[in-house]
C-alpha cells in the first residue's frame, strides 16, 4: 500500500508551507508563458504550411477549413459580391470566378466562389443562406452548382448542418443570451480568440496528429495507394493543395494530374435516393425572402459518369427542371463539349484546365443576369489555354503546390483544349 501523506501530518498542528502562493504563481506564470510560446510556434508553422496546411489558424474555425478561409476571403471584399457561387466540391473545384469576371469584363470582386464541399440542398437552405445573412454578405444572385448529387436527399450529408452549428466560430457568434455559466463563457471566449492551440485543438488531433501517426507508424502516407487508376499522392501534399484557394474562392482540384479523368467505380446514387424537393423549394423561398435571386447551374460531367448513373440522373435532372420552371428559377447550362476526359479528374470533378474551360463557358450563360445582355462585353479574344496560363500567373502558388508548370498542365497526356473551347468574346 502506498503511504498516505495525510497520515504523516500531526493532528492539530499546522506545518507551515512557506511560499505556496509564490510557487503557485510561478508555476502558473510558467504555464502561461509556455502556452504563449507554443501558440506562436504553432502559428508560424501553420504560416509555412507545416501544420494544418488546410487551415489559416489565425481564423476561427467553421466546420470545414475551406469554409473558414472562404469566409475570411469574402469578408475582405470591399463590397459584397454581386454573384456568389456555392455547391459541393464540384462547384468548389469547377468555377474560377476570376475567369468568369475576366471573360465578362467585370471586376473580380463582383463574383465569389463559396463552394463548401459535401453540400446538399438542405445544407444550402439551413446553413449556407443563413450564414450569408449572418456575416452580412447579401449578394444579388446565388448560383447553386447542381452536381448530380447536390439536389438529392442524401441524409448522411445532413450531419454537416450540425457540424456547422457545432463549430467554434458559429457557437461564438450564437452564444445563448442567457443560461450557462457566464464566467466559463468569458474564459472560453477569451481562449478561443487568443489561443490557436485552443481553438484548433480538435483539428490538430484529427487532421494533423492522427494522420501523422498513421504515416509514421503504419506508413500510410499516400492516399489511394491501392487504386491503379490514381497516381498516389502524399497526404500532406493533398492537404496543402486543399488549403489553397484564390482570392475569389476557387479551390483547384487537389488530385489534378494524378488521374486519367474518367469515372470509375460504383454508382454514387440510385433511384433509392430521391430528389429533395422539399428543401429545394424551401431554398428558393429562403433566398427570395432575403432579396437574393437563386439561379441553378448544371455542373458538367463526363460521359463515363453519365453512363453509370443514367437513367436516374437524367430523370432527376428533368424533375429538377420542372421544379425550377414552376418556381421560375433560371437554370444556367454549359454549352461546350465536355467529352475530353482531361477536363476532369474523375469524371465529375473538373481539372484545373477543365475549371477554366467551364468558367469561360459559364460566363456566357451568366452574362444576361450580370450585365443585362446576352453579348459578352469583353473585347479580349482569349482562348481557354491563355486563361489557364493567366490564372496560373495570377496564382504562382498553384505551380509550386502541384509541382507542375502550366505547360505540363496544358499538354498532359497529349490532351489539348480543342478549338471549341475558344471563348472568343464578344462574338459568342
Amino acid at each position: 500500500m502506498v503511504e498516505d501523506p495525510l497520515a504523516r501530518t500531526v493532528g492539530g498542528r499546522k506545518r507551515d508551507l512557506p511560499g505556496l502562493a509564490k510557487r503557485l504563481v510561478k508555476i502558473l506564470l510558467g504555464l502561461v508563458l509556455t502556452l504563449i510560446a507554443a501558440d506562436f510556434i504553432l502559428l508560424e508553422m501553420n504560416r509555412r504550411l507545416l501544420v494544418l496546411p488546410q487551415f489559416d489558424m489565425e481564423l476561427l474555425p467553421y466546420h470545414d477549413p475551406r469554409v473558414t478561409r472562404r469566409n475570411a476571403l469574402v469578408k475582405a471584399y470591399p463590397t459584397p459580391p454581386k454573384v456568389i457561387f456555392t455547391g459541393d466540391s464540384r462547384t468548389k473545384n469547377g468555377i474560377v470566378p476570376e475567369v468568369v469576371a475576366r471573360t465578362l469584363g467585370v471586376p473580380h470582386q463582383a463574383l465569389f466562389n463559396f463552394g463548401t464541399g459535401s453540400q446538399v440542398a438542405r445544407f444550402a437552405r439551413e446553413a449556407f443562406i443563413p450564414h450569408l445573412i449572418d456575416i452580412e454578405v447579401r449578394p444579388e444572385f446565388v448560383v447553386f452548382g447542381v452536381s448530380p448529387d447536390w439536389p438529392l436527399q442524401k441524409r448522411k450529408l445532413w450531419d454537416l448542418i450540425d457540424r456547422y452549428r457545432e463549430s467554434l466560430a458559429y457557437r461564438l457568434e450564437h452564444a445563448p443570451a442567457s443560461g450557462g455559466d457566464p464566467v466559463e463563457g468569458f474564459i472560453s471566449r477569451f481562449l478561443s480568440y487568443r489561443l490557436s492551440l485552443y481553438r484548433y485543438r480538435r483539428d490538430l488531433i484529427e487532421q494533423e496528429l492522427l494522420p501523422d501517426l498513421r504515416c509514421w507508424f503504419l506508413e500510410d502516407c499516400y492516399r489511394d495507394a491501392g487504386n491503379p487508376r490514381i497516381t498516389p499522392a502524399h497526404f500532406k501534399d493533398l492537404e496543402r493543395r486543399s488549403g489553397f484557394k484564390t482570392a475569389c474562392g476557387w479551390g483547384p482540384q487537389p488530385y489534378d494530374g494524378h488521374t486519367d479523368g474518367e469515372f470509375s467505380g460504383r454508382a454514387r446514387f440510385d433511384e433509392e435516393t430521391p430528389l429533395d424537393e422539399e428543401n429545394l423549394l424551401g431554398l428558393f423561398e429562403a433566398c427570395r425572402s432575403q432579396g437574393i435571386t437563386p439561379l441553378l447551374l448544371i455542373m458538367p460531367v463526363h460521359d463515363t459518369f453519365r453512363r453509370v448513373h443514367d437513367p436516374v440522373m437524367s430523370r432527376n435532372q428533368a424533375r429538377l427542371e420542372e421544379l425550377a420552371a414552376q418556381e421560375r428559377v433560371d437554370i444556367l447550362r454549359a454549352r461546350n463539349d465536355y467529352g475530353d476526359p482531361g477536363l476532369f479528374v474523375d469524371g465529375h470533378h473538373l481539372s484545373h484546365r477543365g475549371a477554366v474551360y467551364f468558367s469561360a463557358d459559364l460566363a456566357r450563360a451568366l452574362s444576361p443576369h450580370l450585365t443585362g445582355s446576352r453579348r459578352i462585353r469583353s473585347r479580349q479574344q482569349t482562348s481557354a489555354e491563355d486563361l489557364v496560363k493567366w490564372i496560373y500567373d495570377l496564382n504562382p502558388e498553384i505551380e509550386a503546390l502541384w509541382g507542375r508548370s502550366v505547360d505540363e498542365v496544358l499538354s498532359r497526356d497529349g490532351h489539348r483544349l480543342t478549338a471549341g473551347s475558344r471563348t472568343s468574346a464578344p462574338n459568342h
Binding site: K14, L17, D181
Partner: protein
Amino acid sequence: MLFNSFHYILFFLLVLLVTDSVRRRRFQHAFLLLASYYFYWVSSTWFVLLLLYSSTLDFYLGRAIGNAKSLRARRIYLACSIAGNLGVLAYFKYTNFALSSLEALFGSLGFGMRLSGWEIFLPIGISFYTFQSMSYTLDIYFGKLKPVNSIGSFALYVSFFPQLVAGPIVRARHFLPQLARMPVVNWDQIRFGSTLILYGLVKKVCVADNLSGFVEAVFHGDLTQDSLLVFLGIAAFAIQIYCDFSGYTDIAIGSARVMGFRFPDNFNYPYFSRNITEFWKRWHISLSSWLRDYLYIPLGGNRKGRRRQLVNLLVTMLLGGLWHGAAWHFVLWGLYQGILLILHKVLIWRRPASGSRIWDPLKILGTFYLTCIGWLIFILPDLGKLSFYVKKMLFWDFNTAGLPALIDSHPLALFLIAAFALIHLLSYRMDRLSRRLAASRSLNWSWIMLGGLLVLYLFAGGQESFIYFQF
C-alpha cells in the same frame, strides 16, 4: 460549476491561495463557506437557500436531540429532521413522479385527470447534501456524535464545495473533527491531491465523455443490434458511468486533499468484484454504507432472522434505486439489485464460499455481466427497448461480420474500452495507480503531470456535465 471547467480551475486556485494566506481558522472556515455557497450559486442560483435551510434545520435539531432529556423528545426531534429533509427532497425530486404515477393509476381505473407536469426545478446535488445533513442528526440520535457548537462549521460541513453536488457523502463524524484543527497543507498533499485531480479529469474528460457518443449510438438507434454490439455498448456505458462518477470523486477527494481535508474513498475497483454483495461494498461506497447504517440496520439488518434480513435487503435496494432518480426504471434497477443480493445471500447460506481463488476470474466476469444487465435497466426507461436489449444479453446472436465496420466507425470508443480494461487491471494489480503516480520522485512526477495534461488536451471530449449530478 463543473469540475471539468476553466471556471473551477480558476476558482479552486483562488480558494487555495486565499485559504493558505489566511492564518486564523475561523476566517479560513468563513471564507471556505462563502466560496462553497458561491460554487453552488453558479449552478443553482437562489436554490442556495435550500442549503441554508438544511444546514440551519439540522444544526438546531441536532442540538435539540443532543440536549433532549427523554427518548420521546429525541425521537420527535429526529422525526422533524427527517421530515424536514425528506420533505424538501420529496417535493423537488419526486412530486412529478408521484403525480404522474397516480395519474396513470387513476387513468387505468377510468378516472382520467391531469395531475403531473408541474414545473419543478431539481436543484443539483440535493440528494447528496440532504443525506449528508441528515446523517448528522441521525448520528447524534444514535449516540455516535456530539452536536457541534458552531453553525458555521456545520454549514461548511454540509456545503463544502468539493463534495457538494455529487459526493462522496461525507459523514459528520469524519469531517467535523477535521474542522476542529487548522487544515494542514503541505507539498506532499498538494502533489497527492493534484495527481488525483488530474487522474479524475482524465477519467471524466478523456474516457467518459468520449464514450458517451458510442453509447448513444448503440442505445438510441433502431433495434437492429446484434449481441456483440449490445455487449460492447453496455460495457462502454459501464466504463462511462464508472469513469464519470469515480472521476468526479477523484477530483473531489483531490481538491479536498490539496486544501488539507480528507474524504473517504467512494470506489474500490467495483468491476473486480467476485459477487454482487462485494460490488456494493466497492461501488459508491459512501451511499451504500449510508443506506446500510441508516436504513438497513435500523430496519433490523440481519438481527431479526434470515427472512427478515432478505426483506430488509430488498427494501434498502428499492429505496436506493429510487434515490438515483424519480422514475420506475430506477425502482426496477433497485429491485434487480435487491434480488441479486438476496440470491447471493441464499447461495452463501446453502454453500459457503470455499476460499479458493481459482474461480475468481470467472466470478469477476459473471458479476460484471450481471452488473451490465443492471446498467441496461438503469439507462433504458422504455420497457420495450429494455426487453430487446436484455434478450440480446441473454440469448447471444453474435455477428462478427460487422466487426470491421464497427471498428472503422468507432475507433476511439473501442480503443478506450480496451485501454480502460488494461489500465484498470494494471491499477488494480498495482494497488491504486493514482497513489503510486503521486508517490513518484519529483522529477518523474512532473513528467507524469505534464503527460497527463497533454493527454487531457489531446483526448478531451466535449464538456459534458457529470451523470450523477441529476441524482
